[in-house]
Symmetry: C2
């Protein structure tokens, strides 16, 4: 099928607005880099993909884009090996082994960076293939098993505006205490219909996180709640928080850093929790489940974590894992070992949200509402934004990802990248924090 041969791959780095959202390591930059991938086929269709846009990812994406020309968009299983071949030197040049991008996605290796880049190309190939044959991406993954995918509200402590007046203004206002978090949750619930809530914790001391979750529980009785301090806590602190919140938490996300400490917390939590029958953890165990998108972000981290029962829910970021096919493989592993699965999200645009929704629709067991950072992104490169209804996105049957690129918006966001004078081409939450607090250094963990 010649029309599926790739004739051109376009890479467009962009900077997209991000609100001043706080986490344990700092604050989101006013603008964050993303990379938009277009895979163009001989038949004339262009498939869309998206991935992290930091310079180190871009350095890997360029040789891979060149290497893709002449292959076909169905040739996906070979992409990781191809990336290993053509990106090898580039990734070595970035010194990416064991680096830590933002510290929010666990240990980072050259292999993980490569897979994140691969994911953008894999999604673009699937989109192109679907457009060319009139099939939705979910069909190319074996077909959807649900018509809607549920998402969760993603609550952040935040400032009213970025320091120094940078960035794009919004009308959310500051949220720096439990009342602010509840107000934010209320707006999310009213606007999008979300019925479960995740709080990005670890910004303030644990007592405030506990108070905020308690306030959410009071405001939304019976709703699934989650808190994620990005590994900022010690084992004793994690157990104390778990003890205080076990009756209202759906799961506790990355309370500590690393598989060993997660295993220690998990062992101590057996028999506790909101779902003592184990409903939250895939049915395998009793107790408040631990979720992660930090200590298990690649296949080689699975055996130790699963055999030690260190995590009960894996929050898959399809970028980290290398694309939608590999996300489905992760889902199969989780299903087999009785570990729950949900999807992770951080600052990304509508292309990746479409990809998440398509793959989530194909997974036979999806145990928890997926994360979505998307409502915080007021900018997109699509002609039409995704719309959450009842906290869910519909899984369309339009060809490919069912989205269209707004070339003017893409050009504008690319221009911002070209003209960047703020050092935003690589995300650095600690650097962004230093704009407000020049003495800020990224906290070591455990912070509390």
């Amino acid at each position: 099928m010649d029309s599926l041969t790739i004739t051109e791959v376009r890479l467009t780095p962009v900077l997209v607005a991000d609100p001043p959202l706080l986490n344990t390591q700092g604050v989101h930059q006013p603008y964050t880099p993303r990379l938009i991938v277009e895979v163009v086929t001989e038949g004339g269709v262009a498939g869309l993909g998206e991935t992290y846009g930091d310079t180190k990812y871009l350095d890997l994406a360029r040789p891979l884009a060149t290497a893709l020309v002449g292959r076909t968009v169905t040739d996906l299983n070979g992409l990781p090996e191809l990336a290993a071949q053509v990106c090898g030197e580039s990734s070595a040049a970035t010194g990416a082994d064991a680096v830590d991008a933002g510290g929010l996605r666990g240990a980072q290796t050259a292999g993980k960076l490569r897979l994140s880049v691969v994911s953008g190309f894999e999604v673009a190939c699937l989109d192109a293939w679907g457009r060319a044959t009139g099939l939705p991406v979910h069909a190319l993954l074996g077909g959807k098993v649900r018509d809607r995918v549920e998402y969760s509200a993603y609550l952040f402590y935040r400032w009213d505006a970025h320091p120094g007046g940078r960035g794009e203004p919004d009308d959310w206002g500051a949220a720096l205490d439990p009342a602010g978090i509840v107000a934010q949750a209320r707006r999310f619930a009213d606007t999008y219909g979300f019925t479960s809530f995740k709080l990005k914790g670890g910004v303030f001391e644990p007592a405030q996180d506990i108070a905020a979750v308690r306030a959410l529980a009071a405001a939304f009785p019976g709703r699934p709640l989650r808190i994620d301090p990005n590994g900022a806590w010690s084992v004793p602190t994690s157990l104390q928080v778990a003890h205080e919140l076990r009756d209202v938490l759906e799961y506790l996300e990355d309370p500590v850093s690393g598989t060993a400490r997660m295993a220690e917390v998990a062992a101590a939590l057996k028999g506790t929790g909101r779902n003592p029958s184990g409903g939250g953890g895939g049915g395998r165990r009793e107790g408040l489940p631990l979720a992660t998108n930090m200590c298990v972000t690649s296949f080689d981290e699975i055996p130790e974590a699963f055999t030690r029962d260190a995590v009960q829910v894996v929050l898959c970021d399809h970028h980290y894992w290398g694309g939608l096919h590999r996300t489905r493989e992760l889902a199969a592993i989780c299903r087999t070992f009785g570990v729950g699965l949900s999807l992770h999200s951080n600052t990304h645009l509508g292309i990746s949200l479409a990809a998440m929704t398509q793959v989530a629709a194909t997974v036979p067991r999806l145990d928890h509402a997926c994360d979505t950072h998307y409502p915080w992104q007021t900018e997109d490169v699509l002609t039409e934004r995704h719309t959450f209804r009842d906290g869910r996105l519909a899984v369309g049957d339009a060809p490919g990802l069912g989205i269209d690129l707004d070339r003017d918006r893409l050009a504008a966001l690319h221009r911002r990248w070209l003209e960047d004078d703020g050092g935003y081409r690589s995300r650095d939450d600690a650097a962004a924090m230093r704009v407000a607090d020049p003495g800020w250094v990224k906290p070591t963990v455990p912070r509390w």
Copy 2:
């Protein structure tokens, strides 16, 4: 894409000739049942699938065939659930829970039977989809990562002819001792180019199996050898055989029955074997690896077996596992846990061999030459038989499975099924043995 909607599903049970091959439970029948599935789309293409044809499978296939009409051929992830819904009563009616078909494929449940049926439909859907869009099945699974798939010679103790003059004659002659096995292997090597050899053991006492493998090692020095007694041995016997053959065996297949005993044998074998660096077992461990297509034949059997390190190679029969997508999921699990993967084969036709070859081509790591029973099948329903060269099958890029149905052959083999007067519609190797030895009862394990 309306043209991919299923308008008709044709089920054609057939009886195909099988030579008098011996195993620990009896002898192959002169004819064995298979089920040929044709999925016809609105666009007018017919996709081919094949699965076990015993009556209990046929009973499950009929309601599923009816339920498929109106769905699309891309809708594969939902097939197991659909089968669970529509086949539920039928499978209960067969009393299939915990039955044991031939005793050669481990514990059998209604769920496993259903998945074997699903596999025939899944493959037929993939073939139809590929034919309709001009893509090979491997592309629909993410693309091939190799152009040829290696197979292994499958050696059997056998009689010259079926007792009572039934069945189709062949010119292989009897093989009832080491010299006969070596001659058989020589013919396989000369005719098809196979360079690895698997002996179906457990027919005679272990000393003869040891002698046969030793004779093979002498005749084919350095070639990978395997022996599979279908769980007929005790733990001590297995360890004794392993000790005697550890320098020539690539792996030992199902020496004992059940995960607990396999784990016991595996633990004792650590540090022994032909590949002390663990090359045979996926790199995870040292020692002679154990392979299985009996104690791990479904996803729910994986956690115990893998965490106990009971098996080092899973021999996947895509029928058992529910199709090609699920075979790829199994492959991902094996890869993740450092367990080797290869493909199992028993009496089947060229449709299933094409399916095996297509999926095997897509798996990033395929650790061992796949089993193939196909050379023993002198009959097929294809217009052109598969041809092994250098022990390998080429992975074609023709649409779908790249095969065509010979309707005359299909009709002839179906006629044999319709006119069956030998009780061959359900395979029963012990019953076939009783034709020669009226007092034969299926041996209990361990037999030795």
